[in-house]
Amino acid sequence: MRADLYTAPLLFLLGAAMAYGGWTMDRLEIRQIHPASIPGLVPMLLGVSLAIASVVLFIQARAQVAANAVSDMPEQATGSRRDMIVAALLCCIYALGLIGRLPFPAATGLFVTAFIIAFEAHRDMSRAQLVKVCIIGAGLGIAVAATISVLFRYAFLVRLP
């Protein structure tokens, strides 16, 4: 696939960085360890392997592009990019932004409600339909937040974030 032409150099850089990191890693001479057991040995080997594999990937991808036998994406390209981006944003805001700042039940309730409303509410809906979606979203949000919080707090004795 065409994207491999761009990911292969990135992977090569990662491999080179790994190999360099392994090479410059402390060899613990002060502890008099066996030179063959230095901590950087395997990262070095992995870095070199990754660099070689990325070169093979690049060569294969270029050959495919030359033969015009590439697809842009491996799976069906009929998916909704908008839905995926909205879902990813909501999930990241919840996991990285709300958790730790709001009590867990409140954060979870907000997230579930927002997620349902974001995907079920449409512009062409009537006001009554929108209100119904909001009520369903809020109801499910409260129910899910309460169930998960009670389960983890009291059944599994977890101190919630």
């Binding site: 990662l14 063959a36 491996p74 919630l160």
Partner: protein, 509 residues
């Protein structure tokens, strides 16, 4: 032989309590529901449920996870038949004949064929688990550092080769990335902290559970929201269609047996998994079938082969997981992490330290099989209802569990960040065509590879020859070389040409 049956009997007597039967029942039901829903995979189910079993006693926790695993692999057939979307990747081959049967109005019949096939596949796998696991454990006792190093390399290479379709190099890259992830944190020989970049949270390394929940939970949530929705085919209520299909099973007994054996052996191969088991069984059944033209149009034999094959992988995948601590599939990788959490050390010493545990696992698998058979036959309409839950209402619940699950293990917010990182990373890798199984296997095997390479070199005083001259090492090296060479298109083409020529020559003479 008698000793085996005595131990199995003991395990059966110990585990047959009301509490354990209750755990088996609810976990299998939940597993079937998880497997039924496209996007919720067996790996995700086992990973999320692991976080819910911390407080359970050891046997109950393992029982719950095994029942979830068996149930989810079986449950995938529901959406494969009714939606033409495999509920889990394991059921991809099931769609070929299951969905055509559903379109002919025989969905209930197809589901009962799948139920019978899955149950028999798991039973064949259990028999082979009991027969092979102790022997493999004894063999593994002969492994030293040199052999363990090659075992880890072999696992990553074979998993990369078999799961990446027509681009094995992507499988290898995924495996190397997994091994790279395992390099983060304190290493096993000198406790030196590698690649922590100043984050004290990384000193202990990256936790397997947050990484798995991210790669299989969050990434799946994003995949489900990306993919178009499926439409459920309504099954007609044929008289007796939902009853067990013993007559068909007897008719296709050779296919069932062959698929069960193939599935179990595919399970034995590190990191390969149920989808390959199903495809291999399906291909073998089609090749040997007298009714090849029916395949893809609603063949009962094809459906039976796919379902028997994928279910037989489950016990097969547990054989190396228990005896070598090398998972045969992605859910088995999570199960290994769960075993450590519950104080069981999988590996060659298991038959010495906890000799009865393998038999307990066999009995747990048996309970799960009975449960999928009973629920599969009796609750078919309920699972049809589960398939109708809108993804917009299900996915936020799944993600909330993805957040709280990894947090519950260590109570660190950092593990939530790890989960999010691996979710986005896993989603991107999938979109770019990289398989997830070698990545997971790499994370699991990284420590084994690292420690044993350096320990072996220390033992041999830096001499590489023991890595190539010890008998078991030679076998591993030959297998690895063959696997890598077979992935090079020119060599593959030439060898198949030479083999074809030799075959023709043999026929002529």
């Amino acid at each position: 032989m008698i000793d085996t049956f005595v131990r199995l009997g003991d395990a059966f007597a110990t585990l047959t309590t009301w509490q354990m039967l209750f755990h088996a029942a609810w976990a299998t039901l939940l597993g079937i529901a998880v497997g039924s829903l496209p996007g919720l995979t067996a790996t995700m189910g086992v990973a999320l449920l692991t976080t819910l079993t911390y407080a359970l006693p050891r046997d109950a926790a393992i029982m719950v996870l095994i029942c979830m695993y068996v149930g989810a692999i079986y449950g995938g057939s529901r959406s494969a038949i009714l939606l033409n979307i495999p509920g889990t990747p394991a059921s991809a081959a099931t769609t070929l004949d299951g969905f055509p049967l559903a379109k002919q109005g025989r969905a209930a019949y197809a589901m009962s064929v799948a139920t019978t096939g899955s149950s028999l596949g798991t039973l064949i796998g259990i028999a082979m688990l009991v027969a092979l696991a102790p022997a493999l454990s004894n063999l593994a006792l002969k492994f030293g550092s040199f052999e363990y190093f090659w075992l880890a390399v072999f696992g990553v290479v074979i998993s990369g080769q078999l799961t990446a379709g027509n681009a094995p190099v992507k499988g290898y890259i995924a495996g190397i990335l997994g091994l790279t992830v395992a390099m983060v944190g304190s290493e096993g020989l000198h406790a030196y902290v590698r690649f922590s970049f100043g984050f004290s949270e990384l000193n202990g390394g990256i936790g397997l559970i947050p990484a798995m929940v991210g790669a299989f939970g969050f990434a799946e949530v994003l995949m489900v929201m990306w993919q178009p929705k499926g439409a459920v085919v309504r099954s007609q209520r044929e008289k007796g269609a939902g009853l067990p299909r013993f007559r068909e099973t007897w008719k296709y007994r050779v296919t069932v047996l062959r698929s069960g054996i193939i599935g179990t052996f595919v399970g034995l191969i590190p990191g390969v998994g149920e989808d390959i088991g199903a495809w291999a069984s399906y291909a073998a059944a089609k090749r040997a079938s007298k009714e090849k033209d029916q395949y893809g149009k609603g063949s009962i034999e094809g459906l039976t082969a796919a379902e028997t094959g994928n279910s037989a992988v489950v016990p097969g995948a547990l054989i190396p997981a228990l005896t070598l601590a090398v998972p045969g599939s992605a859910p088995a990788a999570v199960l290994i992490a769960a075993l450590f959490i519950h104080g069981i050390r999988p590996g060659p010493m298991i038959m010495i330290e906890q000799p009865d545990f393998i038999y307990s696992v066999a009995v747990m698998l048996l309970f799960a099989t009975v449960a999928i058979f009973a629920f599969g036959i009796s609750l078919a309409p309920v699972f049809e209802f589960v398939l109708r839950i809108p993804r917009e209402r299900l996915m936020p619940v799944v993600f909330a569990l993805c957040v709280i699950g990894p947090y519950a293990l260590t109570q660190r917010i950092f593990d939530i960040w790890v989960m999010v990182f691996f979710g986005i990373f896993g989603f991107a890798l999938r979109r770019l065509g990289y398989p997830m199984a070698p990545l997971v296997l790499g994370i699991i095997l990284g420590d084994l590879l690292d420690k044993n390479l350096r320990r072996g070199l220390t033992l041999s005083d830096g001499d590489l020859s023991p890595f190539f001259t010890r008998p078991l090492c030679m076998v591993f090296v030959a297998l690895i070389a063959f696997t890598i060479l077979a992935s090079i298109p020119t060599i593959r083409k030439n060898t198949s040409f030479i083999a074809g020529s030799l075959l023709r020559l043999g026929k002529d003479t």
